[in-house]
């Protein structure tokens, strides 16, 4: 055991843990790419994060391991799932390529990049004799990290707090939905507008939809005495949706004036 640690090999239980969890983590990460639904991706992502937390704790980074669970699997994944439910859980990803040949190129590039990284790591001499954190963590991991954080890294620490506040404010500004002032005219104001407006044409009230038109449905504009349709008679939201029918001038010539006798 002592000899094994001296030549940079880790203890046996850690090796078992690693070979059990590392393939699972990589498989879950691959599954993230392959599954169609975003929720399944999120679950697999949470699994990868938990495995990474275990890896951190196994590597004498107890504080980071706990923070990983609290921040990532707790807060960040929670946020992801929340937004996922908000934005549409059933909106599964369309797996059709929008840019032609993107997927083969991406996979080729990834294999090349991954191969480069792995071969680079294989050739490097790092990790052949891991120093271990036994001396650095002698007073406890949290205490040692706090020592560093509040002495050497105190300025970055303050800057990061500013970053957090800015991010929170930015999210509030971005996500805040600005409602238009919900101003509704009173009956008195409506009445004044009707009689003291530009014309008295609508003083007697606007026609309802379908008055004198071919159909008396709500989506048919009423016809004015001269045969022109009155689009104001139809609900504005119907008009905005393009659901208004028969928007044309009434023409007598179109009408079949020959009256058929009833039998």
């Amino acid at each position: 055991m002592q000899l094994a640690l001296q030549v940079g090999q880790t203890a046996q239980p850690e090796a078992i843990m690693f070979w059990l969890l590392a393939p699972l983590a990589v498989a879950a990460a691959l599954g993230m790419l392959l599954v169609k639904k975003a929720v399944h991706s999120a679950i697999l992502m949470a699994f990868v994060m938990i495995v990474l937390a275990i890896f951190y704790i196994a590597q004498d980074a107890v504080f980071l391991g706990i923070v990983q669970v609290v921040v990532y699997t707790g807060a960040v994944m929670m946020l992801f799932l929340f937004i996922l439910m908000l934005v549409g859980v059933d909106s599964s990803d369309s797996l059709t390529e929008t840019i032609r040949g993107l997927r083969p190129i991406a996979i080729t590039a990834a294999v090349g990049f991954g191969g480069l990284l792995v071969s680079l790591l294989g050739r490097a001499t790092i990790g052949r004799n891991a120093a271990g954190l036994a001396t650095a963590n002698a007073d406890g991991n949290v205490q040692a990290l706090a020592q560093l954080l509040f002495s050497t890294y105190v300025w970055p620490f303050e800057v990061v707090s500013a970053l957090l506040i800015t991010a929170a404010l930015g999210a509030m500004v971005l996500a805040h939905h600005h409602h238009k002032a919900d101003f509704r005219p009173t009956q008195r104001q409506l009445s004044i507008n009707r009689f003291r407006g530009e014309s008295l044409g609508s003083a007697a009230g606007l026609p309802g939809p379908g008055v004198y038109a071919r159909h008396n449905a709500v989506d048919v504009p009423a016809l004015l005495p001269d045969g022109t349709p009155a689009p104001t008679s139809v609900n504005a939201s119907l008009e905005a949706r393009g659901d208004m029918l028969d928007y044309k001038k009434f023409d007598l010539a179109e009408i079949n004036t020959k009256v058929e006798e009833e039998k």
């Binding site: 090999q9 992502m45 937004i83 934005v87 929008t98 996979i107 954080l149 990061v160």
Partner: protein
């Protein structure tokens, strides 16, 4: 087992995350893949910290986590805003500048 094995896992996870960012179209999944890349980098930091017997790597990973949390908050707010105006969470639909 060699401690450098963690670095291989980190490299693989980073690569998978990079592919996901390029290939997937759902903005939220793209975002999760970015998180995966950040996490892979964190694993490297922690492993190097152990290999070198130096806690600076762990502090760096801690800062990465904070920045990643900020990034998630702002990014998800942007996704929600885009969804609100375009009714879609696909990265392909936000292409107004192209036309």
């Amino acid at each position: 087992m060699n401690a450098a094995n963690y670095l291989y896992v980190s490299a693989l996870l980073f690569t998978i995350g990079a592919v996901g960012v390029v290939v997937r179209r759902n903005a939220i999944v793209v975002f999760m893949c970015i998180e995966l890349m950040l996490n892979a980098a964190n694993l490297s930091f922690v492993t190097f910290s152990r290999i070198n017997g130096d806690l600076n790597g762990q502090v760096m990973a801690f800062f990465t986590m904070v920045v990643a949390a900020c990034e998630v908050v702002v990014g998800l707010a942007i996704i929600v805003t885009i969804y609100r105006s375009r009714r879609s969470a696909s990265v392909d639909d936000a292409s107004l500048l192209k036309r």
